[in-house]
């Protein structure tokens, strides 16, 4: 016979005995947490933001500023990457023991590339939201048109029926 090993339900279920008759007799649900919280021993934050490169200790290669021209910077970083790969090939032929600096440079470029792409994600999210709102507005307008048409149709049928009845 297996003994039950599942945990019991949380004890505050008893507070909600009379909830169906009186919805004010039981406590309200707790408000949403703000700031940091602990979950299974790990600390999580409610403010999800992409940490900037300096915070991760990585040098930023593209110019900082309010509006970064993503396409230009991505293309520039791509060219830099190709040049560095060629440099690494040359160094390996001539002075093979000095590969470390070149490899570091290449990984720096990759980190910058990924950081740029990640900072495009909020823009993508807003664009998706705009698209969804536009679709919803279109659907609602369509629904309004449909309802208007059906109502007019119903009115017409009723008038017709009235006319038929009166004619009898």
């Amino acid at each position: 016979m297996a003994t039950a090993t599942y945990p019991p339900p949380p004890p505050f279920y008893r507070l909600y005995k009379k909830y169906s008759e009186d919805s004010k007799s039981a406590p309200e649900p707790p408000p949403p947490i703000e700031g940091n919280y602990q979950l299974f021993g790990a600390t999580y934050t409610t403010d999800d933001v992409l940490p900037s490169l300096e915070e991760q200790g990585v040098r930023q290669l593209y110019p900082k500023g309010p509006n970064v021209d993503f396409k230009k910077e991505l293309r520039a970083l791509n060219r830099e990457l190709q040049l560095h790969i060629l440099e690494l090939a040359d160094i390996l032929i001539e002075r093979p023991s000095q590969y470390a600096r070149r490899v570091e440079d290449i990984s720096l470029i990759f980190k910058n590339l990924h950081h740029l792409l990640n900072s495009l994600r909020p823009h993508q999210a807003r664009a998706t939201l705009i698209h969804i709102l536009e679709l919803q507005i279109q659907r609602r307008k369509q629904a309004v048109e449909d309802i208007k048409r059906r109502r007019e149709e119903a009115q017409r049928l009723l008038k017709e029926a009235l006319g038929t009845l009166d004619g009898q």
Binding site: N78, R126, A127, I130, I137, R151, A154
Partner: protein, 140 residues
């Protein structure tokens, strides 16, 4: 896949091609001659021919793949739908769309309520008509 994920995949592909290129070349490279005093190792004739051929081909093929991947990345960057304007214009557009959405929602609600009222009226009339029909019908 969306364009940003494709770009990220392409960056990882370029990285993979780069380290595969260097790794393969380093692994398959013949040993370097340190001094004219040390004799050359005895070359095996059967493997020498095919080794030399593939050793000459590999860098060409791998570097061609690398350049192709870089060009693909540039193509993807060109395909980015980045409308100029930045964050503020997007937020403004979102606010406008929300206001319009609310207005259209109100209109829809009104139309829906009116239609439901008319439906109730018609159902009531129909009920009365059928009741009258039933009452006037003589049971036989």
């Amino acid at each position: 896949m969306d364009i940003i994920s494709q770009l990220q995949e392409q960056v990882n592909t370029i990285a993979g091609l780069a380290f595969n290129t260097f790794g393969t070349l380093q692994r398959d490279a013949p040993p370097v001659r340190l001094s004219p005093n040390y004799p050359e190792p005895p070359a095996n004739p059967s493997s020498a021919a095919e080794d030399a051929a593939s050793l000459a081909e590999q860098p060409k093929l791998m570097s061609a793949a690398l350049v192709k991947a870089a060009k693909q990345f540039d193509l993807l960057v060109a395909a980015l739908p980045l409308a100029e304007g930045g964050e503020e214009s997007q937020l403004k557009r979102i606010a406008e769309l929300q206001a319009e959405n609310d207005a259209v929602g109100q209109e829809l609600q009104k139309q829906l309520e009116a239609a439901e009222n008319e439906l109730k009226q018609v159902q009531e009339l129909f009920r009365q008509a059928t009741d009258n029909c039933l009452n006037l019908k003589k049971p036989d």
